[in-house]
Symmetry: C2
Subunit: 269 residues, 2 copies
Amino acid sequence: MLTVLWADQEPVPADDRGLAYGDGLFETIRIEGRRPLLLARHLARLVRGAEVLDIPLDQAALGGALEEALVRHGRAGAWVLKLQLTRGSGGRGYRPPESCRPRLIISAHPLPAALPESGVSAGMTDYPLVVNPRLAGLKTLNRLDQVMASRDLDDSLYEVIMADPAGNLVEGTRTNLLLRYGDQWLVPPRSCLAVAGVMLGWVTDRLIACGETVVERPLVPSLLTSPHCRGLYLLNSVVGHVAVRSLGERDLPLDDGLATICGPLEELE
Amino acid sequence: MLTVLWADQEPVPADDRGLAYGDGLFETIRIEGRRPLLLARHLARLVRGAEVLDIPLDQAALGGALEEALVRHGRAGAWVLKLQLTRGSGGRGYRPPESCRPRLIISAHPLPAALPESGVSAGMTDYPLVVNPRLAGLKTLNRLDQVMASRDLDDSLYEVIMADPAGNLVEGTRTNLLLRYGDQWLVPPRSCLAVAGVMLGWVTDRLIACGETVVERPLVPSLLTSPHCRGLYLLNSVVGHVAVRSLGERDLPLDDGLATICGPLEELE
């Protein structure tokens, strides 16, 4: 059973566990007209998250709600579909009720501004990223770290990058990192990621399919000042990928390899 | 400005940031009739949390809403008042809006079952507690760790205790720990706590006022098997304190010192 709630039509019961404890998950999906991009990957992450959180998810009902959402909110051009899956209503107390009826909250949003082809400026935030290994990679509703770090954004910065307590770069508030380094592409170990981005997954699979070498390793800051550093990218499934032109005071080398390999965002399946 | 929402009368707008990201805080306060227990401590934690999260909190409006809540929900006997403070409505995107209107969601709940004077059984959970030092101690709406750990509760256990990644005992899902050890009382370092409990604060202040020695130190598991171990307590502001009679397979010594020192819960200011 799945309760579908259309956010433009009705509010959320005050006893929803998503509100009480962040007891749930979400996905934000880029839609071209009525065509979702990277849908299988978004749904796979949602399904895996529901398994980990032990939220019973009726996938047929989810699919039906998604189809209805595409009809209901479909429009010319690109937009963003947000799915929030909560454990549903549940009274007071952390312990999940023995039987719960999950709630799927569906909303449509405008597309953020397109990314400049010339790259973006980013900064480092000193707000540390601390990830519970049991929830690593899942897009849960517990996102205060991202909220807190994003307070260091200002109009001159497209993104701020969070480091783990050891000082290794892990991810932006809403983007994953990809570093072109010598003849390799480096990404932080999956087990350290707060959110394992759908675009990160697609891009690394694409790189590997093109014969490139993708390596998971901690992104120690000295990698960025090495002569092997060819460029740092930010990845996000709604806006695609963009090169980081400067990180704080430091100018970074600009690499244009990724655009060639990936092709236009709009054409992703 | 503070939007007050009575949970028994109206639902929550779907764009509330508490739901979207857990962008907020909460308190659960024991009320005797119309008299809140440990109110100053609850409010101090809420105010401090709002400062850290940079949620502008109109304390006069908060006080007014609280008074209204006590009249509205006041009843004979004890009950629980829950206050949820969110950053309010805020669209899509982690970055808080430049100006926000916080929302205070107020609800009343029955008192949980009283604690047995003879002590309780607890277990260890292998779900690790990982705390971001910037949010340590604050009762934020990001409580998935507690939800996940509480899945290890069963009807035979009153509580499960979480350890940090190093294996030190830190806290229960809804209780703080206090260990009577030799002639000292040990508590985990404050900087490690997910939630710095109001009852923990009251009890340690009371112990110190009575001339007892309270020491913050990591609760390594071997402390529990030492001959100096005199008893382990669980503390919670709604139900008080209780001795742990057994932790997993191990029986613990039972100490009755705390009840003598603290007096009846109902008489707390």
